[in-house]
Amino acid sequence: MSNLSYEESIKLVYKGLVLLAVVTLIEVFVSLFGKGYIIEGVQKSAILVGLAGLVIVGLSLYKAYFIIYEFMHMRYEVKGLALSVLLPTLLLVWAIIAFFQEGSSWGARRSQVKEFNKAVSEESIRPISADATYPMKEVPIQE
């Protein structure tokens, strides 16, 4: 592998160990920070929690890149091989992120529908009929 000497390769491996360990510790620290264990009340601020989440995801992606390129020696493989493996993997990462957002959206829509149904049952607005067209507007009941 490459033009590094034996001793240099070994040193690099242990540097990698320290790097991964430090990144993991930072991840855990940022996660606990985002949950309010380091400073009280952080978990209430949506911006800080979102920022902590982004940092954690970024660090994990960096760990993944390091493991694949250095430990699995992808760095020394032909570019075609690397692309044929990594491009689908990147699509997977995107799919995971996209479906997390999708889940949030489901939750928000569900509570929206719940509130709407509650308003309907309290007779403050007219219920939607089966043949109504979109977009639907809430119309107050008119006598």
Partner: protein, 316 residues
């Protein structure tokens, strides 16, 4: 023959060189290339599970907060959020590093080095499995979580607990905090992981049914009652702790179990190839112990999946 001559004159005829064989695509051996593509397919499977977890978790109004659920460790440690699972991560990272060393020794055709470093990797793998087993035993045996029962919940309102006799205590909580529904049994308050303020309700009547300050269901879970103190139409009403989202148990045990199965099969393969290396089988092939490199790829993949399971389940 005439047909042959015509074919040979065809401009679009592919030369024999390309289809004559002997050329490795991407300059990688068959075994290594196929291992990469197997790992890619396995990544799709795990991504599917993580997507299911993420979509279900973020669409639920409440979800057990990971740093509350996973705050115990062996030897009676509790209230140490995420520490044990961080130790598990380190175990896998270290075993990945020893695997890289084994591959390096293999490239130097150093049989003893390969056996030594692979042995360390196997020990790391067994250590991780042991830790995961402890975690499962703790959740199932001590905290009474199962595939369908999730005793970890979180509050959606602010409130104050009731004492066992029904009077209002001074133990308050806020919306977003987590709770664990305990299962009443003799001496359970000595078991690790329980909140000190849970009260010694085991000294009280644990027969199934409605009591003044708590409700015992017919499986023995003690649902403590509380009074809502946050503003709104629920203010002043009395509720009991309910089980958390049902999907949590199935998702957690299945995903960590599937990963643990990969670790176990990885350890088995590592042992097989370790024994083969020790016997001199790979030295005879004179290919730089390529088999060790291939199983190294699998082992690093197991570590990689854990990075993402750790991220999704415990950190986010």
């Amino acid at each position: 023959m005439a047909a042959e001559t015509v074919v040979q004159d065809n401009d679009t005829q592919v030369s024999d060189d390309q289809w004559g064989g002997g050329k490795a695509p991407f300059k990688a051996s068959y075994g290594k290339l196929m291992m990469w593509y197997f790992l890619l397919s396995d990544a799709f499977t795990f991504a599917g599970f993580l997507i299911a977890y993420g979509a279900l978790r973020f669409s639920s109004p409440t979800w057990p907060v990971p740093d509350f659920v996973f705050s115990t460790a062996p030897f009676g440690v509790h209230d140490a959020p995420l520490i044990f699972v961080t130790i598990m991560s380190f175990l896998l990272i270290i075993s990945s590093v020893t695997m890289v060393r084994a591959v390096q020794e293999g490239h130097r055709e150093n049989r003893q080095g390969v056996v030594f470093w692979m042995l360390l990797t196997v020990i790391g793998g067994f250590g991780f499995l042991g830790c995961q087993a402890w975690e499962w035993n703790n959740l199932i045996g001590t905290e009474h979580m199962s595939l369908t029962t999730n005793p970890f919940g979180s509050y959606t309102v602010d409130g104050v607990y009731l004492n066992p006799d029904g009077s209002v205590s001074d133990e308050t909580f806020e919306a977003g905090e987590s709770y664990l529904i305990h299962k009443g049994s003799l001496g359970h308050h000595e078991l690790e992981g329980y909140d000190e303020g849970a009260g010694d309700h085991d000294a009280h009547d644990l027969s199934p049914g409605d009591h003044a300050g708590y409700f015992v269901d017919d499986r023995g879970y003690v649902h403590r009652k509380y009074q809502v103190t946050s503003e709104g139409e629920l203010n002043g009403q009395i509720f009991q702790e309910e089980f958390g989202p049902r999907a949590f148990g199935g998702l957690f045990f299945f995903i960590t179990g599937f990963h643990g199965f990969h670790v176990f099969s990885g350890v088995v393969f590592l042992l097989i190839i370790l024994i083969n290396s020790a016997s001199g089988l790979y030295a005879a092939r004179k290919n730089g112990y390529e088999m060790v490199e291939k199983i190294g790829l699998y082992w690093h993949f197991v570590d990689l999946v854990w990075v993402f399971v750790f991220l999704v389940f415990y950190l986010l």
